[in-house]
């Protein structure tokens, strides 16, 4: 995770008080296909100006949920409201929402200009206005020179821009993006991420994006909803999801984490004490909801939060073990330490700290420790 560069600057989340009516409100929406429940009683609020990300693996329901917002699928249960107005039964062509498709879906028989003008023509706008808005949209995406070309004469990246222009020119309240970067190779993808975020800030439209790539979501979104089996497992800012996951699934989804199985000894004032056989000691960590004693939990610590020293330090959460391997990754040292219990712990140390600990090699005994504030207690 640390090798990933800092993402582009994101606007902070709008406080709920400033927008009493959320731009998009989904209430207990469900969608079934035959025997399969794709979306299971999902509730979600999305606010104006957010770059919202629906994240999950395949089959998680994120694409179905996106299509339900677009109106391409109608929910079997639940409500969807845009700016307070109920659009649950409204077909796609009646919603103030536009979508950018994964395949771009440019009309092959129409020129770039006519593609972009399509939606405005359906609105019945006067010709002069259409021409002007189309020109502006294309120029904003640097595609002004290609207006007469047909889609098959464009490269993949150019087609994507046209698809954007086509979706944006109608000034929708929400722009939906279905895995927009999936078709690009790694190098182009990073640049496209920057451009996408910059574009959103420029037009000010709320973006809702679907992706399976957690790095992408972390780097671009102001808020993320992680989905699994049709339900939202956790929704929040990237920081919240990374530092304070509510379950192992969330913890595992974003980067690597160390998980220590154990049972609750006691919970007090936000901090829980967990008896862990794997760790061989009592670990302390932050908890979300109060848990009863003896509850089976896991304590999560990110590798970059783990400190290492030769001698036993004066600290909480101290573990002792032998170094199994220590790899130098350029900007950090990745150390695998095997505890007496047999469990392997991953620690990522800056070169400075590694040096201060005496640059231990494989087989040497070391001590691992971290502040309790850096650990989280996860229920399941």
């Amino acid at each position: 995770m640390d090798t990933h560069q800092d993402g582009p600057v994101r606007r902070p989340l709008q406080p709920a008080a400033a927008n009493p009516i959320p731009l998009l409100r989904i209430e207990k929406a469900s969608k079934r296909f035959g025997l399969v429940t794709a979306v299971d009683a999902v509730s979600l609020d999305i606010h104006r100006g957010e770059f919202f990300c629906l994240l999950g693996g395949s089959g998680s329901g994120k694409t179905t949920l996106l299509r339900m917002i677009a109106g391409l699928e109608l929910p079997d249960e639940g409500r969807i409201a845009i700016e307070g107005e109920d659009v649950t039964g409204a077909p796609a062509y009646a919603r103030p929402v536009n979508m950018m498709f994964q395949s771009y879906a440019l009309f092959p028989h129409l020129s770039v200009e006519k593609n972009v003008a399509f939606g405005l023509q359906e609105e019945g706008r006067p010709k002069a206005e259409i021409a002007k808005r189309v020109r502006e949209a294309l120029e904003m995406l640097d595609m002004g020179a290609f207006s007469a070309r047909k889609p098959h004469q464009l490269s993949g990246g150019q087609r994507q821009r046209v698809a954007f222009a086509r979706a944006l020119v109608k000034h929708p309240k929400i722009l939906l993006l279905d895995e927009p970067l999936a078709a690009l190779d790694k190098k182009l993808r990073e640049r496209a991420q920057f451009e996408l975020v910059r574009l959103r800030e420029r037009v000010g439209i709320t973006f809702v994006m679907v992706t399976h790539d957690q790095e992408e979501a972390m780097g671009m979104a102001s808020r993320i909803a992680l989905m699994q089996d049709g339900k939202i497992v956790q929704a929040g800012s990237p920081r919240e999801l990374y530092d304070a996951p509510v379950s192992r699934y969330v913890a595992d989804f974003f980067g690597t984490s160390n998980l220590f199985e154990g049972n609750i000894k006691e919970c007090a004032r936000g901090e829980a004490a967990v008896e862990s056989a794997e760790a061989g000691t009592v670990l302390r960590g932050q908890y979300g909801e109060r848990l009863a004693a003896q509850t089976s939990v896991a304590v999560m610590v990110r590798p970059e939060q783990v400190h290492l020293s030769r001698e036993a330090p004066q600290a909480e959460n101290v573990l002792r073990g032998k170094i199994a391997s220590a790899a130098f990754l350029g900007n950090c040292h990745a150390c695998q330490v095997t505890l007496d219990s047999g469990k392997t712990v991953l620690a990522r140390l800056s070169p400075a700290e590694f040096g201060k600990a005496g640059s231990p090699a494989a087989g040497e005994t070391v001590h691992l420790f971290w502040p309790s504030a850096a650990a989280r207690v996860l229920k399941q």
Partner: protein, 298 residues
């Protein structure tokens, strides 16, 4: 219907019109043929006895009899017609396969740029009139037709060969008319073939002929089956080819049906023959559709 927006009313209309047409012009006629096959022939119009008569009371009396079918199954003429139809269709399909396979193979192996023109040349005859293509052979197989003229001129024969109005001519006509239908499916399969299979076979020591028999041929079987069925099924009920190129003793069901209907005015018997032909065609047709389903799934 699970929510595809705006598709409910127009959907009924869109499906409705072709459905009504099909029920009226495909299903109903077949039922009528079956019904008439159970009637008796008579002079007058229409030339068959009515199936329902209302004599006394509310319910009609039904007059059906299976005499026509009994005739089909007992009379030598009809049994021979069915059998020879099967025989001629089978041998024609086989001959067509022998000619079509190398053609399809050659086109599939050709350079990308020439493949489409080559295919087009195969398909082009299909678009010219079927009738005319069969007719063309009469001018060739005639006793003073092209072949006989050439053979006579070169002194190879003394008297003209009776080529026309024979079973040989019928086979020729069927193979000729349906050849494109055999070439196309085989080509379609061969084109998609991964030729590296052959390279692997050669690498493992197989000589070209062996590689063909053990690799190419088995892999192209779906195309062969499809092609054979596409020739066999229409050939079973073929009428024009046996009528124009066949002799008086060339019996094919289509022709017998025509004679019963137009010459003998025996509509019920013709209907029974039609049902018999339907049954004959049904078995290979079902096999063909199963094959298509498997192809689609693959």
């Amino acid at each position: 219907m699970s929510g595809r927006p705006g598709h409910s009313c127009s959907g009924v209309f869109v499906a409705g019109v072709p459905l009504v047409w099909l029920l009226l012009f495909v299903l109903l006629p077949l039922l009528i043929v079956f019904a008439i096959s159970l009637a008796e022939t008579r002079t007058g119009s229409p030339p068959y006895t009515p199936l329902f008569t209302w004599e006394a009371g509310f319910l009609p009396r039904i007059h059906v009899q299976a005499r026509n079918y009994a005739l089909l199954l007992s009379d030598r003429l009809y049994i021979d017609a069915f059998l020879s139809s099967l025989r001629i269709a089978a041998t024609s399909s086989f001959i067509a396969l022998l000619i079509a396979y190398p053609m399809a193979y050659a086109i599939a192996r050709a350079r990308e740029s020439v493949r489409t023109p080559l295919l087009m040349l195969v398909i082009l005859p299909f678009w010219t009139s079927f009738l005319i293509r069969v007719y063309a052979w009469t001018g060739i197989l005639n006793s003073n037709g092209f072949i006989n003229n050439v053979l006579l001129d070169f002194g190879l024969i003394k008297a003209p060969l009776p080529l026309l109005h024979t079973e040989f001519a019928v086979h020729l006509g069927i193979v000729y008319s349906y050849l494109p239908f055999m070439v196309l499916p085989i080509f379609a399969v061969l084109e998609k073939l991964d030729w590296t299979y052959l390279e692997a076979a050669a690498d493992l020591g197989a000589r070209p002929l062996k590689a063909f028999l053990r690799v190419t041929l088995p892999l192209s079987l779906p195309g062969i089956f499809a092609g054979v069925l596409l020739v066999f099924i229409p050939a079973l009920g073929e009428f024009i080819v046996p009528e124009l190129l066949g002799g008086p003793d060339t019996l094919m069901v289509g022709r017998v049906l025509w004679t019963e209907f137009f010459s003998n005015r025996d509509w019920p018997l013709a209907s029974a023959l039609a049902i018999g032909l339907l049954v004959l065609v049904l078995v290979p047709a079902i096999v063909f559709f199963r094959l298509m389903r498997k192809e689609e799934a693959a």
